[in-house]
């Protein structure tokens, strides 16, 4: 199946055309900055390393972050097809995908909490313990995804 994937038109466009690979890599960098950047800012606020911004207003950034997520899911699929047989056997790649999957679950839990309960939280203090823990897990998972993503090129 992964051999077949490498012979499909998108895979050949990414792998063999002059601009296919750089365009997808460029999109992947922009999407990374948006999704990891915005989710990290949200987490830093929930952990308490950023003050002042109200918890309720954090939720307004949700669509922007998921836009970055979608940009990277799409560009990531294109990049994957070009070397599917290599990526599918790469431990750092599989680790990266697992961590992104878990970070997305964290994001879904956090946004539900923000929507339902943020207005009751004291904006000057810390958030509920469980939300803080999930925000810390989310931070660790995004950092882990970046580390393992970089290592795909080396291991």
């Amino acid at each position: 199946m992964f051999e077949w994937l490498e012979t499909t038109p998108p895979a050949i466009w990414v792998g063999e055309s002059l601009w296919g690979y750089p365009i997808m890599l460029g999109c992947h960098a922009v999407g990374l900055a948006i999704v990891v950047g915005i989710f990290l800012m949200r987490d830093l606020r929930l952990i308490g390393l950023v003050q002042g911004i109200s918890y309720e207003s954090l939720d307004s950034l949700r669509n922007l972050a998921w836009t970055g997520f979608v940009i990277n899911a799409v560009s990531g699929c294109f990049l994957f097809t070009s070397q599917a047989t290599v990526f599918i056997e790469s431990t750092p790649f599989l680790l990266k995908i697992s961590m992104i999957f878990l970070a997305a679950i964290c994001a879904a839990i956090i946004q539900n909490k923000l929507r339902d309960a943020a207005s009751q939280w004291d904006s000057t203090g810390a958030v509920a313990g469980s939300v803080r823990t999930i925000a810390m897990a989310s931070t660790a998972l995004w950092i882990g995804a970046i580390i393992s993503g970089r290592l795909v090129a080396y291991l």
Partner: protein
């Protein structure tokens, strides 16, 4: 530029960067984490300053500024080490010079923000629209920094010009 390359190659810092197989990927990881902090904090600050996300208190976005500086600092250090590790490749690359030019523009734009916007910002309505000049500065900031990001990522694919 040749004199610069000759001076750097074989220097202690050059040998330190090239000395371990792990130095380069670890520096890259920090450069990626740094860009996430820099672009993430700037996205919130600049998009709010451009008039979007009005639920967010525009004055409170100031609290994110330390993360702009942390991200920039991490990338300044790791970027300097990349240059020290492979001076010939970077100085011959037109993408690298465009990237540095955009960093300079972004820096001047930040100075413009500091002089014109920063002193008056505390008096802004927290959830209202923003002045025209603030919008210009915000978009210049986003445009230059995303340009820096793209040029940086594509340096390996851009020629010597």
């Amino acid at each position: 530029m040749e004199a610069f390359v000759t001076a750097v190659e074989g220097s202690a810092i050059n040998e330190w960067v090239l000395g371990s197989a792990w130095a380069w990927p670890i520096m890259e990881i920090f450069h990626f984490l740094g860009l996430s902090l820099l672009l993430g904090s700037l996205l919130v600050i600049d998009l709010r300053m451009a008039g979007y996300f009005r639920q967010i208190n525009v004055v409170a976005t100031h609290k994110l500024l330390p993360w702009v500086f942390i991200g920039f600092g991490v990338n300044l250090i790791t970027g300097f080490l990349f240059l020290m590790g492979d001076p010939a490749r970077y100085t011959a690359n037109i993408g690298f010079w465009w990237k540095m030019f955009l960093v300079l523009i972004a820096g001047l734009n930040a100075l413009w923000f500091w002089i014109k916007i920063n002193p008056v910002m505390p008096s802004w309505e927290p959830h209202a629209d923003t002045p025209g000049l603030a919008k210009v500065i915000a978009w210049v900031s986003l445009g230059t920094w995303f340009g820096v990001l793209l040029l940086g990522r594509l340096i390996p694919y851009i020629g010597t010009g």
